[in-house]
């Protein structure tokens, strides 16, 4: 049995614009989209460009648009798509560098804007900062983010406003605000509580739908709004 992989191709050195190209890939049970891409690279067309590394849904390299949804190619079973046609496009509204490889610089720049590192207020103890199980529970899921950019690619607001921080960076902001060891809550809220941050979100829930780690960025953004509302009321930011 075969499946047709219809892949958006773009080679900046020769193509005026992107176009689809079809490849026949032999199907066997358990075949993932990433394995299909490797089959094409290794057997049919060695010019195909795509990123990948762990093939186990933890490195975040292979987020792309597959049959109408943003997914990690490695964890997407072809059988789950219920189709003989597998249409693969790169992440949206990021510049295509070649084929399925996009320029993620705007995405990572947004991440850096929220100061993504722990900033404790207390002096470092000789051993660990203690943290109760309940406190640690507040950063559950948020710390699972693999920065695959599926959420960013799916976000229509990010597509119209490149200055918007986007779902991932906002999740990262909440991750540090919720961490009992961090001491910069108000400063962090000040970074995100503006019209390039949490107020730009239209609660469209695409990011919630596509996150391969079930993180729910929309909910994170709503929580940030609640917190910043309180801070604004009390004049802290």
């Amino acid at each position: 049995m075969e499946k047709t992989f219809r892949i958006l191709r773009y080679d900046p050195e020769k193509d005026q614009e992107a176009h689809f190209q079809d490849y026949k890939v032999p199907y066997e049970k358990g075949l993932t989209v990433l394995e299909g891409l490797y089959y094409i690279l290794e057997n049919l067309d060695a010019t195909l460009a795509f990123r990948s590394s762990c093939r186990a849904a933890i490195c975040g390299s292979c987020a792309m648009h597959i049959n109408g949804q943003y997914r990690l190619a490695c964890r997407t079973q072809v059988s789950a798509l219920n189709s003989d046609l597998i249409t693969v496009r790169p992440l949206s509204h990021l510049t295509i560098l070649k084929d399925l490889v996009v320029d993620l610089k705007p995405f990572f720049d947004n991440y850096k804007k929220i100061e993504p590192y722990l900033q404790p207020e207390k002096a470092e103890p000789a051993k660990e900062f203690t943290q109760s199980e309940k406190e640690r529970g507040k950063i559950d899921k948020l710390v699972d983010c693999i920065l695959c950019a599926a959420c960013y690619g799916s976000c229509p607001v990010a597509s119209t406003n490149p200055k918007y921080l986007g779902p991932q960076a906002l999740v990262a902001a909440l991750r540090f605000i919720n961490d009992s060891r961090d001491g910069k809550t108000q400063e962090r809220l000040a970074i995100v509580a503006n019209d390039e941050g949490i107020f730009r979100c239209h609660t469209i829930f695409n990011c919630q739908q596509v996150c391969p780690k079930d993180i729910d960025p929309t909910n994170a953004i709503l929580k940030l709004r609640g917190k910043s509302f309180m801070s604004k009321l009390t004049g802290k930011i």
Binding site: D11, P12, E13, K14, G30, T32, L41, E42, N43, A46, T47, L48, A49, F50, R51, S52, S53, C54, R55, A56, A57, I58, C59, G60, S61, R75, Q77, L97, K98, D99, V101, L104, F108, K112, E115, P116, Y117, L118, P120, E124, A126, K127, E128, F129, T130, Q131, S132, E133, E135, R136, I139, V143, D144, I146, L147, F176, D179, R181, D182
Partner: protein, 567 residues
């Protein structure tokens, strides 16, 4: 042309930790990496990282010395004991530091870092963050690099280490985004390029872990050590070979054969059971399979977590559950997980001392790419993450403190080396190849899987050496990368990666064939016993185009005399 005082190749845990250290010591440091740092394979580590914190109520009297003994015993007495002491003594400080940097470790009720039991350890000393410890550590270290504004060259693929007068002068790299070949001159080079898992076919390793990072210095005359010691992890899922952390068994998971029997009781003491070290557990599973006691007579057994209950699985092993559902359609809360042993880790690597220094001046290595040696013939689970942060830091410190900047001279030398690499790649594109390089590489992997696997013996290994040599000739003579554009030519990248994989495969097979004993992960059916009189020594290989030159060097023994290894 680019110059930095210290250049680090690889942005996994060891590379990032080295970069942080060198940066904190005020040096001009840059990290070159073929993938974005967060894509590094360190992030796939699951179960945890060892340090004698004595947080676990069942392990209050744990000490670095006890950790050291477990490590040496686990290594089947091939680890260098002075290096092991360095690692276990520095472990607590490195873990506290990571915690201060935000690493979200799981917690005990008293708020301290949680620790779980792991294979081959007499104490529950494996610190963990659910089953995503590597991911959490990698992100925490990357975040610290962002804080320090450390310079990264992302998607630059290093092709060559520049050595002149036995001194490192920089590297030459392919800029994947533009296709340009660029010289990076430096006065100190640290390789932290990870493991060589993809030499095998059935491996837990990422596509990027090809062994090229070991091969590049090897080609320049740097000695590599103990490559024949390959760790087969007991529990990789069938078909996809994705890792199921040892934490599954640390939390109480069972291994079951086709009779539903916890077969480990037939091999090790009832107290140890599923928590025997990896080499032993993998051999037990493989023996069950070979003797027809795999599930339905097949080539796998079950890892059963059902009795742990939903709450524990969701709290401690959520990632494992996700992997099983995504890749197998199996929910471990309700069904046992079909697994078999798979290639997981290279104990060997670039021969370094415990400061990361090698036989070439100003050239350092750390992490899985290096062989210090702290793992000897078999690594304990939880010691690889530890190795990256202890020896990554030490390599960064040593490189920074011994730096003698020679910018002009090294720039000249690196620029010359670059021109040679440009010619080499142009030459590759001139003549089309008649063979598919991926097919050749696949055959190398099949040879390694079948003939240099868990159980080894002379006839098969001789065949393996011959077959790989033949495949190496075919690769060099008959296969070429595709001549596509310059931008993101991944075919060129994979083609160059294979060259490294094949040359390291030769060393693994040759070293295994030469070592006529069984020790740790190296298990020979024709020499079933450990032979301390003749073989308690490290294998050292030096590159030669015809065949690697193999010599041996003594193991450093300080406190622990070798005894029979029983669990």
């Amino acid at each position: 042309m680019i110059y930095h005082d210290i250049i680090i190749v690889g942005a996994g845990l060891a590379g990032l930790r080295a970069a942080i250290e060198a940066s904190d010591l005020g040096k001009d440091v840059a990290v070159i990496t073929k993938v974005h740092p967060l894509r590094s394979h360190s992030g796939a580590a699951q179960g945890g990282v060892n340090a004698a914190l004595a947080n676990n109520p069942d392990g209050r009297d744990d000490t670095p010395d006890k950790h050291a003994y477990d490590t040496v015993k686990g290594s089947d007495f091939l680890a260098d004991q002075d290096a092991v002491d360095v690692m276990t003594n520095e472990a607590p400080a490195r873990i506290y530091e990571l915690e201060h940097w935000g690493c979200p470790f799981s917690r005990f009720k008293d708020g301290t870092i949680a620790q779980r039991p792991f294979g081959g350890a007499a104490y529950p000393r494996t610190c963990y963050g659910t089953d995503k410890t590597g991911h959490f550590m990698l992100h925490a270290l990357y975040q610290q690099c962002v804080k320090r504004n450390i310079k990264f060259y992302e998607e630059f693929f290093v092709m060559k280490l520049v050595v002149e007068d036995n001194q490192a002068r920089g590297v030459v790299a392919l800029n994947l985004g533009t296709g340009d070949i660029v010289s990076f001159a430096s006065s100190s080079v640290i390789f932290a390029t990870g493991g060589s898992g993809r030499i095998y076919g059935k491996t837990t390793n990422a596509h990027v872990s090809t062994g090229l990072g070991v091969a590049i210095p090897f080609w320049e005359g740097v000695a590599i050590k103990d490559m024949e010691f390959i760790q087969f992890h007991p529990t990789g899922i069938i078909g996809k070979y994705i890792l199921m952390t040892e934490g599954c068994r640390g939390e109480g998971g069972y291994l079951l054969n086709n009779a539903g029997e916890r077969f480990m009781k037939n091999y090790v003491s009832e107290k140890i059971m599923e928590l025997a070290p990896r080499d032993i557990t993998s051999r037990c599973i493989q023996t069950e399979i070979n003797q027809g006691r795999g599930i339905n007579g097949g080539k796998y057994v079950y890892l059963d977590l059902r009795h742990l209950g939903k709450k524990k699985i969701m709290e401690r092993l959520p990632g494992i559950r996700d992997i099983c559902i995504d890749f197998l359609g199996v929910d471990p809360i309700k069904q046992p997980i079909p697994i078999h042993p798979v290639m997981h880790y290279t104990m060997g690597g670039i021969d370094t001392n415990f400061d990361g220094a090698t036989s070439v001046r100003n050239f350092y290595a750390a992490g899985e790419a290096a062989c210090v040696s702290v793992h000897g013939a078999n690594r304990l689970g939880g010691n690889s993450l530890l190795e990256t942060i202890v020896f990554g830091r030490r390599a960064g410190e040593h490189a920074a403190k011994n730096l003698k900047a020679e910018k002009e001279k090294n720039t000249r030398i690196a620029e010359k080396a670059k021109k040679e690499q440009v010619k080499y790649v142009e030459g590759l594109f001139k003549n089309g190849g008649k063979e598919n390089p991926y097919e050749i590489k696949k055959q190398v992997s099949t040879v390694m899987d079948d003939k240099v696997g868990i159980f080894r013996e002379e006839t098969n290994m001789k065949k393996a050496v011959d077959e790989i040599k033949e495949l190496r000739i075919r690769y060099n003579r008959d296969s070429r990368p595709v001549k596509s554009g310059k931008i993101y030519n991944y075919d060129l990248l994979w083609y160059l990666e294979m060259k490294g994989s094949i040359d390291i495969a030769v060393v693994i097979a040759a070293g295994a064939l030469a070592r006529k004993e069984s020790r740790g992960s190296h298990s020979r059916t024709d020499f079933a016993k450990r032979d301390d009189d003749n073989w308690m020594k490290h294998t050292v290989a030096v590159f030669n185009d015809k065949a690697p030159v193999i010599t041996y060097k003594p193991v450093v023994v300080t406190k622990y005399q070798p005894v029979e290894r029983k669990y």
